[in-house]
Amino acid sequence: MTFASLEFWLFLVGTVAVFAVIPQAWRLVFLVLASLVHYGSYGWTNLIYLGFVVTVAIGAVALTRHADMRTATTAGALCLTAVLAAFKAGLGQSWGLSAPAGYSFYSFAAIAYLIDSGRALSMPATAPSTVQGNAAIFALVWFPKLFAGPITRSRDLAGQIEKGLRFAPSGLQIGGLLILGGLLKKLVIADNLALVVDPAFAIPDYAAPLELLIATYFFAFQIYCDFSGYTDLALGLSLIFGLALPPNFAKPYLCASVGRFWAECWHITLGKWFRDYVFIPLGGSRAGRLRTVVNLMTVFALSGLWHSGLGYGAGAGFLVWGLLNGAFVAIEQALPDAPKTRIVTALRILITFHLILLTWVFFRAGDLDDAFTILRRVSLALPSAPDVLAQYPFTAQHFIGAGLIVGLLLAEVITGNVALHRRVLALPRPARWSLVYAGMALLLLLGRWQATTFIYMQF
């Protein structure tokens, strides 16, 4: 049951209703069971792999009473990494095994738990062992974030679980706003942009160059709204049950550097995961400039490979995407600091956006050939673009897409460093309610509710 289905909302209402009335002591177990029901609704075989990951993670830590902690947890982490790599390489398909939805995300969470346990970092030292075990399991199976993150460390949840999960009005209010925002981003913005993106990228040799250019810009916002929309849903749903998950996006297209884009603004929890479990163990930035560049490129190459199998084609395009981003970050780090004036910052934001945009072509295109075809055809057509623009047969979908993107950017610029939902909460009640009703009306009128899936659920 996807977030856009009636079954999911009925499931959610039922789950909230039961959660609100059962004793505090039962709530965690109930939510774990509800999570298993939700994940199982996508196919009962998914539960087998989830069970395998949970067993390896919890089992390896539990067994350390009888073995060295580091050995057991390292073995567990390597086992999960190997299975993850096997799925990514498509090895399971030869045995008729298809990768379960979201397996990357909970595998990453499990690997993080194992490595942190080996370093005795997985939990606050004062947390009782039952809380530790509960938080570990919960961090792996919690349904709102199971398919596409945020990748949650068990120590982030342990403190909240120890205090007990509350059903509070504030959680419902803030969570509701996040859910509304998430649905708007996904069903209204991302899925309407897809109507222009998908046909153009399907025929890169034949689509008009201007159409390819528009589709590339649209894709940048499609993937942002698709992924961040899912995150908003995950955060909002969790807040309803009294849980605060870490944020995953921070207005990425308003970042003034590619480095900051990846470190602090886009898929933040994955960035932190790669930092903590790949970049830093390789030496980080402490082993000299050349070694730092190698470490950076390794992280971005692995990230690129991790994205392969997304459904846009396999392998090489994502690898180029990753390596390009790594190269941009490495070059940025070698450049002197720019003055922090408004104009320079605005220019840097524009440049950063377009550098990322360039890499999105490799991410979205079916293969490397298609990516180069798109770039070649667009760059050759750019000089004549002003003349073509005046006569181009724009459709309603183009205008709707452009309007949605402008609306999104305006909202992000106006709200500054504060999250959009916090700004809305701070408004006087009439304005707040008007915005909520307007959002719901948009969702009803423009939302594409039919059979929708999230891009990152294919991991």
């Binding site: 009005p169 504030s170 419902l172 009703y437 719901m440 009803l444 009128l445 594409r448």
Partner: protein, 313 residues
């Protein structure tokens, strides 16, 4: 809201939200009534006479009988009136619902049921078809239609009933400002030059996603539809429409389907005419399997006209 529940504020929020929803729904319903055309339930709702000479039920193969001025010309030529309630992808379960709704407050002297094998092989063309957004979005609110859908539960999916009741598909219809016309009608005067095997294969895969074995419950729906029409004092004729030979030969389980339809016709005591071999030339079709204007005329000349006049071919 803070950490205190505020029931009055929450109630006010929900009440205003409901008013906003109803306002949007009123606008959506107005657009349905303004732009409605092809949807069979809309046609029933907008009929200005209670009776008709012929009622035509079927899927898309029956729709060319209503394209452009064809229906008017047939009416003039045969001195009768025709109500065509064919709909794209309408299997016998859908036709039974449509027929049932029609006969609640209308009558027909004759009913022509155009049967296609694909409609008997998959729930996609039956229980799930009514719930398709393109269908639901164009059904106007009508007490009797609501009653018909309620009676159809639980076989009719609850989501479909809920969607109609809440008007969700009407609100969410991206084509709300466009007239409800099947785009194929614009190709009525075209004709195919050469059959495309690839296009035919793709079309058949689309029509028969699970293969072609006719399911008993859908055959029972046809039998029930025939019985319903006869109970409404209508004479019933079942026809199989003309199809291009290359397309027809690729259809799965056609012989089995023909045999089962023949059994139903015999058991129900109604006439069955098989025109599937009548028009082999590709020039009579505007795509893989739909008759164009000259194809419809050839069908009329080849026996359909005699049926509509009250005789056999």
């Amino acid at each position: 809201m803070g950490d205190h529940w505020q029931p009055r504020t929450t109630s006010a929020f929900l009440a205003i939200g409901l008013v906003v929803y109803l306002a949007l729904l009123t606008g959506a319903e107005t657009l349905v009534r303004r732009h409605g055309d092809a949807n069979p339930f809309f046609r029933i709702w907008s009929l200005d006479t209670p009776g008709t000479g012929w009622l035509i039920l079927g899927a898309s193969h029956a729709m060319p009988l209503d394209f452009a001025d064809t229906r008017q010309r047939i009416e003039d030529a045969h001195g009768t009136t025709i109500v065509n309630l064919a709909a794209t992808g309408a299997g016998p379960y859908v036709l039974r619902l449509i027929g049932g709704r029609f006969f609640q407050d209308h009558h027909a002297a004759n009913v022509l049921i155009v049967v296609d094998g694909f409609g008997y092989a998959d729930r996609r063309w039956n229980e799930d078809r009514i719930g398709d957004p393109d269908m639901l979005a164009r059904i106007p609110y009508d007490r009797r239609t609501m009653a018909a859908l309620t009676d159809a539960l639980p076989r009719l999916p609850f989501k479909t009933w809920l969607d109609y009741g809440t008007g969700f598909s009407k609100l969410n219809n991206p084509d709300r400002l466009s007239p409800d016309i099947w785009t194929a009608e614009a190709r009525f005067d075209e004709s195919r030059r050469r059959p495309s095997a690839a296009a035919e294969a793709e079309r058949i895969d689309y029509l028969y996603p699970q293969g072609g074995v006719p399911e008993q419950r859908y055959l029972d729906d046809l039998a029930a539809l025939v019985a319903m029409c006869r109970q409404a004092k209508a004479r019933v004729v079942i026809v199989r429409p003309p199809l291009p030979p290359g397309f027809r030969e690729k259809l799965p389980m056609e012989a089995e389907f023909a045999r089962r339809i023949d059994q139903i016709a015999t058991r129900q005591g109604v006439q069955l005419f098989d025109f599937s071999n009548l028009l082999p030339e590709p020039s009579y079709y505007f795509d893989t399997d739909h008759l164009n204007r000259s194809g419809v005329q050839a069908w009329l000349n080849g026996g359909l006209s005699a049926i509509l006049s009250g005789n056999g071919p």
